[in-house]
Subunit: 401 residues, 2 copies
């Protein structure tokens, strides 16, 4: 079955689900496509217009992949996380835009996008010229927005990295975004040595927890800021078990006495690295804890407030502010550098120094219909949008029966 | 006459001037000092407590300097600017603090500070071991807060640089703060090539005007932001004559249409350097004009507002924010590096590429009494505090008769 065929099925099926897609998806006036029954094969979670993921996402069946062309591999996705940035991509508010998946629909004026940026795949078949990969190897994607919410995909060799042995599926499926963000932020800006101190906010996030663990493995001390909450003592204990030196709420950060406390903790040593995924007022306070010649690295802005800092910190304390985006890191680095980083992170995981993120697996079963699968994924995204999940959700899209 | 003697005169004289110094300056209870007539010799503009310069400054006579100790020189100051930072130092709100001048008063609980950070001196006498300087050479200070508002001073060789020939007194007296700030900001952050664009605010300030000229000499294009004012067209013309490519008011910057205009000017080329001495809202707008991988360098905050930027500029456009402080530059660099920079700037001045700042010379005459000189300097600082001077004021403190 041709991919145009799959596309035709989508064109025919989508308008039947009320409130979803029918406005954005219009049949070409000279429609030559025809509907066809759902075939056994694969499935992807797709959208054709930006918007609320709970409204624009659909499950979309497509046939078995053809044999892989030279220098590519066919992979089966085992697990793919739903990261916050994935939501922003679907909403259309993220700077990295996916390319339409032309293997699913070739009609240029009807693009189909597959959700998901990160994921773990297993090699099913390799094309001519592929020597570094073999069947059953695990690979992860380093090309941004490659569409991982799918059961299978044909991928270029240059867009994947082979995963070292010894990791769990969950570790491997989440190794290309958050752990490298944490690792690179700890290494690319300030030259830290064992015993040095860092501060970070949003410390309970996936990146924050990776920062705590990698810093602990390197012998760096961390002061970690979190939101106050009902179970704050439990969370503090959890982060301390991961290796956090101190865990402090933003309320405690707002209290002037914290400054003296921090001085006691550090013995007056300058803190030379701050990591920020919050911005707004509490980040201004956190920046004031930094010493001379410090770097403040931002990778998020959960407060949706700007990063606002007294100019004097820049002029007289030589503060430097940067941003970090793992997507840019990948696009600036060679395949060898990417592989090297993956090995380093995998070693930390195997040594028990970097744990699985708290997660649950959400499976789209192979026997479900596309309509039922679509409802399921939209319900999930609605719950995620309301912040109903504390844990990282890892999507498993099974082959269709 | 000993320096303790001078100190005693100050202790005795200051309380006689109402509203000035008497609160901060208290005679030691076991006062063994005595008053003495004013002797021929030197004079400095001094203070002993932080506060409004118009209230805390005094003229203070002191005798001829003793012969210079080894590796020092006695210099006569020819001109010393009154820079905005000098006011902040006297107010006590500047991070760089002067040391008390123990040659004027050795009593530790009664420090005397000489105002002024920058200045041009002429070598009058050299101590043993001095080979690089001779009588009548011109020198400038690279030690911060060395107290230049004076007729004479003994200086360590390591704290001064010899001025290349061919400059005017005004050029040499103002060569160590603003021109190097401009030069280093243009060179230390972004790697610019001829035809590249920069943006800056406060473009009519002394640094801003130096930026325009040095950039023009290097073939960089500048977009310069200034406050709207009655004579704005005159100011625009003046800056364009100096080499500004475009001059734009903050009001025009607030208009959304500017973005398209800038794109037309630059031909869509990324602007990779922004220089900021204002902060606040207009700087946020200016930062949005920067392209990918740009550097925003702050050296002032005239708005007294923080520097507030969308976090997305850091993450997705790889903006980096820094501060620049010429004082730190000097303290981090070798004597050779300082000399090299001075030569470069002097060459630009001699070639007519970097003009005298608009200035007027304010002379404290040698025949005036300290009381009259004190009144004069306080009146001047009061007028400066009210923003009554458009021009840079260069102080000339004459030897006393």
């Amino acid at each position: 079955m041709s991919s145009v065929h799959s596309c035709a099925r989508a064109l025919a099926r989508w308008p039947q689900r009320p409130g979803q897609l029918q406005h954005a998806w219009r049949l070409p006036s000279n429609n030559t496509f025809s509907t066809s029954p759902v075939l056994a094969g694969n499935r992807a979670i797709v959208y054709n217009t930006n918007g609320d993921p709970a409204r624009v996402l659909s499950a979309f069946s497509f046939p078995e992949l053809p044999p892989p062309p030279p220098n590519t591999a066919n992979i089966r996705f085992l697990l793919a996380p739903i990261n916050p940035a994935d939501i922003n991509v679907i909403e259309g508010v993220y700077p990295a835009k996916p390319e339409p998946d032309v293997s699913l629909c070739q009609a240029k004026d009807h693009p189909i996008f597959v959700g998901g940026n990160e994921g773990l795949g297993k090699v099913m078949d390799i094309g001519e010229g592929v020597v570094d990969l073999q069947k059953d190897d695990w690979v992860v994607m380093t090309k941004a927005q490659s569409g991982t919410w799918s059961s299978a995909k044909n991928v270029a060799l240059s867009d994947v990295l082979k995963v070292p042995k010894g990791l769990s599926e969950a570790q491997a499926a989440t190794i290309t975004v958050n752990p490298p963000t944490a690792y690179n932020m700890l290494h690319d800006f300030a030259q830290l040595a064992e015993g040095d101190w860092i501060v970070q906010n949003g410390a309970n996030g996936a990146v924050g927890q990776a920062v705590i663990q990698i810093a602990a493995a390197k012998g760096y001390k961390t002061i970690n800021f979190i939101r106050d909450r009902d179970d704050v003592e439990l969370l503090k204990q959890h982060l301390e078990l991961l290796g956090a030196t101190h865990v402090v709420t933003y309320d405690e950060l707002s209290d002037k006495s914290l400054r003296a406390k921090v001085k006691t903790w550090t013995g007056g040593k300058d803190i030379r690295l701050g990591l920020n995924c919050v911005s707004g007022k509490t980040t201004t306070l956190m920046a004031r804890l930094l010493g001379n010649n410090a770097h403040l690295v931002s990778y998020g802005a959960m407060s949706k407030e700007p990063l606002s800092l007294p100019t004097s910190l820049f002029i007289f304390k030589n503060l430097a502010c940067h941003g970090f985006w793992q997507t840019r890191w990948y696009s600036n680095k060679s395949l060898e550098q990417r592989q090297e980083l993956l090995k380093t992170l995998a070693a930390l995981m195997r040594d028990g120094k970097l744990r699985d993120p708290d997660h649950e697996v959400f499976t789209i079963g192979g026997t479900e219909s596309d309509v039922s699968a679509s409802e399921k994924i939209c319900n999930l995204l609605a719950r995620l949008g309301q912040g109903m999940y504390g844990k990282k959700v890892l999507l498993r899209v099974e082959e269709t029966a």
